[in-house]
């Protein structure tokens, strides 16, 4: 059990890689998409869809955010950040050129290679859609590896739909559908006004050779899960990424645990087969 503390200098895992904010774009009224470049080439890291990193607003603190970009495109590290607290407020005030820091990548990822040949259903609600964007990018960049793809994106209102400018591109490839829905429309909205679980029931995707990837607020996940099960999806066919309060990302601060599992290290990506084995309700 006890490991010998070694004499060699151990790098401090709390020190982030210095980075510069290169662009900051409004996605919705309270969500911005940040693009960061690491300052030192030797810090460059590889990462997979579903992983996350901590972004620092020096002087305020740091917070964990899902990586919204894909590593192989080398377009910088992207994070979609909703303004909800002190750190995200501070990040929203940064101008391009500002110095920041990145610590990561942390956590596991969506095993997209294992999903090859399968039909994919991607369901995201609100800011919960952010960690799904690299999943979509990866699948569409390797379109022929996957079967039918259904993307279902919902939000409270049309102006809360994340990545709206990319929907058209996502719908271009064959056998790919993008469905949008909002809880409440506005004057310019011609689309659906319905809750995600209801839209899902209406679309009725087949569970055969399919994987459903969902992310969103707890209440949405709860009801979406019920609908997927009604459609015949098994627990192991449903994958989600959990959100937990985190401070370290290293499995040390014991804040994001669900039972003996850490969201930061054992997750954040879990199948519902795994979640149903958790001792603690989440």
């Amino acid at each position: 059990m006890v490991k010998e503390a070694t004499e060699k200098v151990i790098p401090n895992p709390f020190v982030p890689y210095p980075a510069t904010l290169t662009s900051s774009v409004d996605l919705t009224t309270d969500v911005k998409l940040f693009t960061l470049e690491l300052d030192r080439p030797e810090d460059e890291f590889d990462y997979k869809p579903g992983q996350f990193a901590f972004v620092s607003a020096f002087g305020v603190g740091e917070g964990p955010f899902g990586l919204a970009s894909v590593a192989y495109r080398k377009e910088g590290l992207q994070f979609a950040v909703r303004r909800v607290g002190t750190v995200t407020n501070a990040l929203h005030q940064l101008e391009p050129g500002a110095k920041t820091g990145v610590r990561g990548p942390f956590g596991n990822f969506f095993p997209l290679d294992d999903y090859k040949g399968k039909n994919i259903i991607i369901i995201g609600g609100g800011i919960g859609f952010a960690p799904l964007r690299p999943v979509i990018t990866t699948i569409l960049d390797n379109r022929e590896d996957y079967g039918e793809v259904l993307i279902l994106n919902g939000a409270r209102s049309p102006s809360d739909l994340c990545f709206a400018s990319e929907f058209d591109d996502w719908a271009k490839p064959p056998r790919t559908k993008v469905e949008l829905t909002v809880d409440a429309g506005d004057d310019n909205w011609n689309g659906r006004v319905a809750l995600i679980p209801d839209v899902l029931a209406e679309l009725g995707p087949s569970p055969k050779d399919a994987i459903a990837i969902i992310c969103g607020p707890p209440i949405m996940i709860k009801f979406t899960l019920t609908r997927l099960k009604n459609l015949g999806f098994g627990d192991e066919q449903i994958v989600t990424t959990l959100e937990g309060k985190m401070k370290c990302g290293l499995g040390k601060c014991f804040r994001c645990n669900v039972g003996e599992k850490y969201v930061c290290r054992d997750g954040p990506v879990f199948t519902f087969a795994e979640i149903s084995q958790f001792i603690e309700q989440f």
Partner: protein, 331 residues
């Protein structure tokens, strides 16, 4: 043969240690006895049951600077904290030392916490075995003993004409270099400590009673004051935030407790442990279930601090008994 260090010999040894290193020892602070840096041997308390706070703060300080930043010409330099100070802790009890060694589990797990590792490297622990355990102590019930030398560098045991000395680690041997020890054939008594806490098999039991209403009934009484966590040698939750002082930014971490409201509340407002019962369960399940699952031993060393310090008598020994009884009923 046992090696003996006389009482005056011990004092001069401690005095010598103090010349080159920081010496931390039990000391009177107000009406408490706490581990604290001492400037002279006179301040050291040799006869005490257990200190009011555990010595974990010399490895996991109440407040620690993770790194500081220096800004210049729109360039930010991040400077990690380096710990230079060599420290010797004298008089650490076997239970407390075991608690610290136990935290190597999470803290040195890859990627290692460099501050913890540095504190561990720079600190030598001189243990003092318990000749008369206090009524709240139950180290023997949780896999240790009043003379357990497994987690210290040097173990001292009080005998008639001084202290029996055992160098446990190389670090300990180095510290003892040049210290004159007498040979003696005295046999060391093995004091006993409360063995009645039914901790055996508790891991399996906790799994069975996890969803019991027991927790929320117990939490009726709990005032979620965090005292248990702060006095505990094995509680290691922390908070991290930045601090700005006259342009200097430091990222600091401080003690925090899973008992505080909002500990798990995420920015959007959702809190998986919003009710008192699930917060209280978290603390005991961490000690009795999660930690054993992750690292082996129960993360309770039986020091009894929470037992004495809890203002509303939430007693881990009683809880372990209750759970075993409850588990037996569940079958």
């Amino acid at each position: 043969m046992t090696k003996i260090l006389g009482k005056t010999g011990l004092e001069s040894w401690l005095h010598n240690i103090m010349q080159e290193r920081a010496l931390v020892a039990p000391k009177h602070v107000g009406d408490l006895i706490l581990f604290d840096p001492v400037q002279s041997v006179d301040e050291v308390v040799f006869d005490y049951e257990n200190t009011n706070l555990s010595p974990k703060e010399f490895f996991f300080p109440r407040t620690d600077t993770l790194f500081t930043t220096k800004s210049q010409d729109n360039d930010v330099e991040l400077i990690p904290t380096i710990i230079d100070q060599e420290t010797v802790i004298f008089g650490i009890r076997p239970c407390d030392a075991r608690g610290i060694a136990m935290l190597d589990g999470p803290y040195l797990d890859d990627p290692a916490d460099s501050l913890w590792a540095q504190h561990r490297n720079k600190t030598t622990m001189i243990g003092l075995s318990c000749t008369k355990p206090a009524p709240q102590c139950f180290c023997t019930s949780v896999g240790s003993a009043p003379n357990d030398s497994s987690s210290v560098d040097i173990m001292l045991t009080e005998v008639d004409d001084g202290y029996a000395v055992e160098a446990v680690t190389e670090k300990g041997e180095r510290l003892l270099q040049g210290v004159e020890l007498k040979e003696s054939d005295v046999t060391l008594s093995a004091p006993s400590c409360d063995t009645s806490v039914p901790a055996e098999g508790i891991v399996e039991t906790v799994k069975k009673v996890f969803d019991s209403p027991y927790w929320s009934r117990l939490a009726d009484r709990c005032i979620h004051c965090n005292v248990c966590a702060y006095v505990c040698p094995t509680c290691y939750c922390f908070d991290i935030r930045d601090r700005t002082d006259k342009g200097k930014i430091e990222r600091i971490r401080t003690w925090e407790s899973c008992q505080s409201k909002g500990f798990t509340r995420i920015a959007g407002g959702h809190d998986p442990r919003a009710d008192k019962g699930s917060r209280l369960r978290q603390r005991f399940c961490h000690k009795l279930l999660y930690f054993p699952q992750q690292f082996g031993p129960l993360s309770c060393v039986g020091c009894g601090r929470c037992v004495v310090s809890c203002p509303v008598n939430i007693d881990i020994r009683e809880i372990i008994s209750d759970l075993q009884e409850l588990g037996a009923k569940v079958g």
